[in-house]
């Protein structure tokens, strides 16, 4: 195997422009893959965040007693679609308001606990449960308003689906394209080395001795492209984290867990080895007659 690696290195060194071209195609492919994967993971995590947040918010009328709230909470406990409830008193609502607007003193001066209603945040099993639960609560006489952030979840669900479909199609196409480029480059090299291959055969080289360097070369292009694209993706994500974080607000996606990035690197490398190896294997099967 060490001899095959040595031969593959020599092949790459002696045709640097082809090596750069192949690695760049692989880079673009894996950069697109990582971009879509990060987007898909991000949207999935956002969706989970919104799904896990109290989705139905009920505001109570002025004068609602704690017994009224307890009665509603007890009634919701028997509802299988409800996962949990959280009561937010007027004072707590004021504290939340203050925390959110601490940079604007003018807004803080005008607001007291009296003008903020108490509320109940209710999380459900799934987004589909939101509306039925909201309908039940709307019938309660102490409830003044029911907010259902169903639209956010619906938008995110459809966005996640679009990212998966568009990403999957684009990456699939790019993978195929990259593999064909590898077939073409390795095929070209096999033709270029016809004389050397012929002499190796006459010297008694085994088929694997002749084939392996070409297969390794294809794998190398894949791995080189995957590593470069991972580094670039990681740097871009790191650079834009402050901006993205302010845009995402409460959704804590960033900074991305290094373990996720390492998993992405591992997945990219595995895929790169498969794409590069398969491309060169096809070229060897097609062009190398031993």
């Amino acid at each position: 195997m060490s001899r095959s690696i040595e031969y593959a290195k020599r092949n790459i060194r002696r045709t640097p422009f082809q090596a750069i071209a192949a690695s760049m195609v692989m880079f673009l492919t894996f950069f697109a893959l990582l971009t879509f994967l990060i987007l898909a993971l991000g949207s999935q995590a956002s969706l989970k965040y919104f799904e896990s947040k109290p989705q139905v918010i009920v505001f109570f009328k002025e004068g609602t007693t704690s017994q009224d709230v307890d009665a509603i909470q007890n009634a919701l406990k028997s509802e299988s679609r409800v996962v949990g409830t959280k009561y937010v008193s007027k004072d707590e609502a004021l504290q939340i308001y203050r925390d959110k607007n601490k940079s604007d003193p003018a807004l803080l001066e005008l607001v007291t606990a009296n003008i903020l209603p108490a509320s109940l945040e209710i999380s459900t099993q799934s987004p589909q449960d939101l509306q039925p639960v909201a309908d039940i609560l709307k019938r309660e006489p102490v409830v003044s308003e029911v907010i259902v952030p169903e639209d956010v979840v619906a938008t995110l669900t459809s966005l996640t689906r679009i990212i998966r479909v568009v990403g999957g199609t684009t990456v699939g196409f790019l993978m195929l394209f990259a593999m064909l480029i590898i077939v073409m480059i390795i095929g070209f090299k096999i033709r270029l080395k016809r004389g050397e291959i012929e002499i190796m055969r006459l010297l008694g080289a085994s088929p694997s001795f002749i084939r392996n360097p070409f297969i390794l070369e294809g794998m190398f292009y894949g791995v080189a492209g995957a590593i470069c694209s991972w580094i670039v993706s990681f740097c871009l994500l790191w650079y834009f984290t402050p901006f993205l974080q302010s845009y995402l607000g409460e959704v804590k996606l960033l900074p991305v867990n290094p373990l996720i990035m390492l998993t992405l690197l591992g997945a990219s490398l595995s895929l790169a080895i498969i794409v590069g190896g398969l491309g060169s294997w096809l070229a060897v099967r097609r062009y190398l007659k031993i």
Binding site: G195, L202, G204, S206
Partner: protein, 225 residues
């Protein structure tokens, strides 16, 4: 060691390259195959390396009928049978040292062994000082010595030489023949196809005369007339 039994080779339906060839060559022999161009000399050698398969008949190298050999076994055969060509077949982008080392890399030798064995054979063929040169920087004689070193470094049982002196001047050709003679003295069987009357007649080795695909004469210490 090598035995042809009623060997025939046809290209297509009309061209007969070899017909009913039956000969035996013992281990350590030096055999010349002579005859006009197109007589079947190269075909005979190419059958021995299994570059081509005979149409009928048997070819034994040792106890193995190589005509029936599986493709996966061919590399093992070729490690026992070295080949030298008239046009040297050297690789343009490798130095003399690398050309010879290639034969040992194929055999799976370690780097230390390769360095030792290549040095030994290049000194033997007297081109050690040319080890870092590329084929374009070599004379014809040096290129052929490199090709012989490459074929012989793995110590094959048989060395086939297909008109190895064809492109060389008389003096250089004699140098190559002396080299082949020395390799033969190690016990390696040499089978050499040639047109060179002077060499055949001077060396007085076994001569197989082939014409129209048939062996018409087989003589020890023979002559090429």
């Amino acid at each position: 060691m090598i035995r042809f039994e009623n060997l025939s080779k046809k290209y297509g339906s009309n061209t007969t390259a070899l017909e009913g060839v039956s000969i035996e060559i013992k281990q350590g022999e030096f055999v010349f195959i002579v005859g006009p161009s197109g007589a079947g000399k190269s075909t005979l050698l190419r059958i021995l390396t299994r570059e081509i398969t005979p149409t009928s008949g048997k070819v034994f190298v040792g106890n193995v009928d190589i005509a029936k050999m599986k493709d996966s076994e061919i590399p093992h055969l070729r490690r026992k049978v070295g080949v030298v060509f008239q046009d040297f077949k050297l690789l343009d982008d490798r130095t003399v040292f690398e050309q010879v080392a290639l034969a040992l890399e194929v055999l799976g030798k370690s780097d230390e062994e390769i360095v030792k064995m290549v040095e030994h054979i290049l000194k033997l063929v007297e081109i050690w000082d040319k080890r870092n040169l590329f084929p374009r920087q070599l004379s014809g004689g040096e290129a052929q010595r490199t090709a012989i070193a490459r074929a012989a470094v793995g110590k094959p049982d048989v060395l086939l030489a297909d008109e190895p002196t064809g492109d060389l001047d008389s003096k250089t050709a004699w140098g190559v023949i002396q080299l082949l003679n020395e390799i033969n003295s190690w016990g390696t069987t040499i089978i050499m196809a040639t047109h060179n009357q002077e060499i055949v007649n001077t060396l007085k080795k076994r001569v197989l005369v082939i014409k129209n695909g048939k062996i018409i004469k087989d003589s020890k210490e023979g002559k090429y007339e």
